[in-house]
């Protein structure tokens, strides 16, 4: 599904190299987790994959189902099936949540040569998805993320994911700022989307989220590289011992 090969990335404006040769292969239906200390490049990886400005790829490649991702505009990546759940979802005053969702869904459908969804069908779809995430009608009516609590913002991200039905989902610290109940709600939302074909890359600091969203593979990232890959037990090891041992091991 997602293949990242020797990816090197620096900041566009400064000479700061952030990713120093990332290799990652995620197969269809697989759930991978990336853990790592602050500043290791986890969020940068998610931004570069989704096409945010401000980064320069100096070497390497990334592809989604064989299509070269880094050549595409952000909207083309989305239409190709990539979705990033933001660590800090953006507030957009003046744009209603429903308008936003419908515009996004229909733009993707159009880009893929599919027919746009009618207002009625769209409403039905959103209501159904919103219900399971406990998102009420008021939240759908309000401007995108404006006045939402931290938990509401994250639930709204998962709602978008559920409506847009991407092939490859990247969750960037979706657990940050969530209380226990909200984490359960968000995880249930994510798990409901696991269908054996859709793939996930879960970026997190804590093992806790991985109790809810069970990964097939866990990677440890440090200083711009993936330094260790293992099964779910690796996350537990980090939780118990911290990153120090792992970092020492590599050096």
């Amino acid at each position: 599904m997602l293949n990242i090969n020797n990816l090197h990335v620096k900041l566009e404006e400064e000479d700061k190299v952030i990713l120093k040769g990332v290799n990652l292969n995620i197969g269809p239906g697989e759930v991978h987790a990336i853990m790592g200390p602050n500043g290791s490049g986890k969020s940068t990886l998610s931004y570069v994959l989704s096409g945010r400005d401000g980064y320069e790829v100096t070497d390497g490649s990334a592809s989604l189902e064989g299509a070269e991702l880094l050549e595409m505009e952000p909207e083309e990546r989305a239409a190709a099936g990539l979705f990033l759940a933001f660590q800090y979802p953006v507030e957009i005053p003046g744009v209603g949540n429903m308008t936003f969702l419908r515009t996004a869904l229909n733009a993707q459908r159009k880009a893929r040569g599919e027919e746009e969804l009618s207002a009625g069908d769209f409403l039905k779809l959103v209501r159904e998805k919103a219900k399971t995430l406990k998102i009420d009608a008021d939240m759908l009516k309000r401007p995108v993320n404006v006045g939402f609590s931290g938990g509401e913002k994250k639930r709204n991200e998962i709602l978008q994911m559920a409506v847009l039905e991407p092939k490859m989902c990247i969750l960037d610290e979706t657990d940050s700022g969530l209380d226990v109940d909200a984490m359960k709600l968000v995880s249930d939302g994510v798990n409901a989307l696991r269908d054996g074909k859709r793939s996930f890359l879960v970026i997190t600091h804590y093992q806790r989220l991985l109790d809810h969203i069970k990964p097939d593979v866990v990677h440890i990232m440090a200083a711009g590289r993936i330094i260790k890959t293992g099964g779910p037990e690796l996350a537990l090891e980090v939780e118990n011992n911290g990153y120090a041992d792992l970092l020492a091991e590599v050096q």
Binding site: R52, A107, Q108
Partner: protein, 427 residues
């Protein structure tokens, strides 16, 4: 004090070809207006309230020819059930208009109503304009009161069943129209006034509105998309106790637009909202100059102006709130914002507060900025193409001004219009 010779000459040249009909109540009002104008002279760029907008094209003896936008898009408000009154090149066009008989309202044509000795409009025509000349002189409004060729006089006694819609058409590319309307809402009356159309190559307009106690006046206008037209418009309104005044203006294109709005809240608990959404490209110059006077207690005023500018377009906002002694519990709000789509465009804002009462709430804010890059990225990451995402953010920026329109159908019409215009630029 006599005007300097140069100013006298400029004024003489401007009014040389204009007709000053005598007789009747209107003849007297016209003569008084001419006396006001002669004392003031025409505005120049050296006047404080014309510092950001060069009035030369508005004060020149003739209008430059303007090519009008003849796109086939249906006119604004087409889907709204309304009473249509049409002016072509500044003259009332009875054949194109609806029969002006409607319950709760009297409609007369200025050009015909002026010869009587006594008329209700005597108490309004040029009267609110005169009050609005102090402390800021508005010579173009006085010129209008003196030389208006036509206009409409409306007296509202009840709740009018449908909006009255003034439609301005043009036949000549060089039309230079001067229209003057007076509207009097008696206590408890209610009227929605719509205005749209290109009007003329150069359009000078005054609208005087007296909103009686408890009366409600809604005004929504769409200034034509014609890129080369010039317009100077004035609204003078006076509000009685518990009266409501709401005015919204949509402007797209136009080489020069100056919209003056002078509001006076003289009865307690009155509310006045004035809003504008403008989108301009290239040589577009758009100026909103607003003066709100609070002269009674517990009144509320809101000014909400938003401008989207690109390719060197210029936006101006001069907004003032004056709170007179004794106007306690005044609630005044003023916001002017511009969205600059490139580095060439300019927004000039001059917010002013002058307060002589000690228990009031007044706030003002003004911002200029580019499109929020983070929001743009967020939208694109969800699959919305760049130009469509930009349009969505432009609409979002204008939303606060459009929200000032109370009637949902009319607001939707305006919003749909904007979406259509933006959409056309997406491809």
């Amino acid at each position: 004090m006599a005007l300097p010779q140069a100013k006298q000459d400029a004024l003489a040249a401007r009014i040389a070809g204009l007709d000053l009909p005598q007789g009747g109540w209107l003849g007297a009002a016209r003569s008084e207006a001419l006396a006001r104008l002669t004392a003031m002279g025409l505005p120049t760029k050296r006047d404080e309230y014309w510092r950001y907008t060069d009035p030369t094209l508005l004060t020149a003896p003739g209008a430059c020819a303007a090519v009008f936008d003849d796109s086939d898009e249906p006119p604004v408000f087409d889907a709204i059930d309304r009473l249509k009154l049409v002016f072509t090149d500044g003259v009332f066009d009875a054949a194109a208009s609806d029969n002006p008989a409607l319950a709760g309202i009297e409609i007369e044509r200025l050009a015909l109503a002026g010869s009587a000795d006594i008329h209700w409009a005597q108490g309004l025509y040029g009267v609110l304009e005169t009050r609005g000349q102090n402390p800021v002189p508005r010579p173009l409004a006085a010129l209008n009161s003196a030389f208006a060729t036509d206009g409409i006089l409306i007296r509202v006694t009840g709740k009018v069943a449908k909006p009255v819609s003034l439609i301005y058409r043009h036949k000549s590319d060089a039309s230079d129209a001067i229209l003057h309307h007076c509207i009097k809402l008696e206590a408890g009356a209610e009227l929605t006034l719509l205005e749209n159309g290109p009007a003329a190559a150069r359009f000078l307009k005054v609208l005087e509105v007296e909103v009686g106690d408890g009366a409600r006046f809604h005004h929504i206008r769409a200034q034509g998309r014609d890129h080369e037209r010039l317009a100077a418009t004035h609204i003078f309104a006076r509000l009685g106790a518990e009266a409501l005044f709401k005015s919204f203006t949509l402007t797209a294109n136009g080489r020069m637009t100056r919209n003056d709005c002078v509001l006076e809240l003289v009865g307690d608990d009155a509310k006045a909202h004035v809003a504008g959404a403008a989108m301009g490209d290239r040589s577009f110059h758009h100026d909103d100059t607003v003066f709100v006077t609070h002269a009674a207690e517990r009144c509320e005023s809101r000014q909400v102006f938003k401008k989207v500018l690109k390719n060197g377009a210029v936006g101006v906002f001069q907004g003032k709130i004056l709170v007179k002694p004794g106007a306690q519990k005044t609630d005044g709000y003023q916001i002017s914002q511009s969205l600059l789509l490139d580095d060439d465009s300019q927004f000039l804002a001059k917010p002013e507060l002058e307060i002589y009462a000690d228990d009031v709430k007044c706030s003002h804010g003004s911002t200029s900025g580019a499109i929020d890059e983070t929001a743009l990225y967020y939208l694109r990451s969800r699959g919305v193409p760049l130009k469509q995402a930009q349009s969505l953010l432009v609409l979002a920026f204008l939303a606060e001004a459009i929200a000032e329109i109370e009637d949902e159908a009319i607001a939707d019409d305006i919003r749909g219009r904007l979406e259509g215009w933006l959409h056309r630029h997406e491809s």
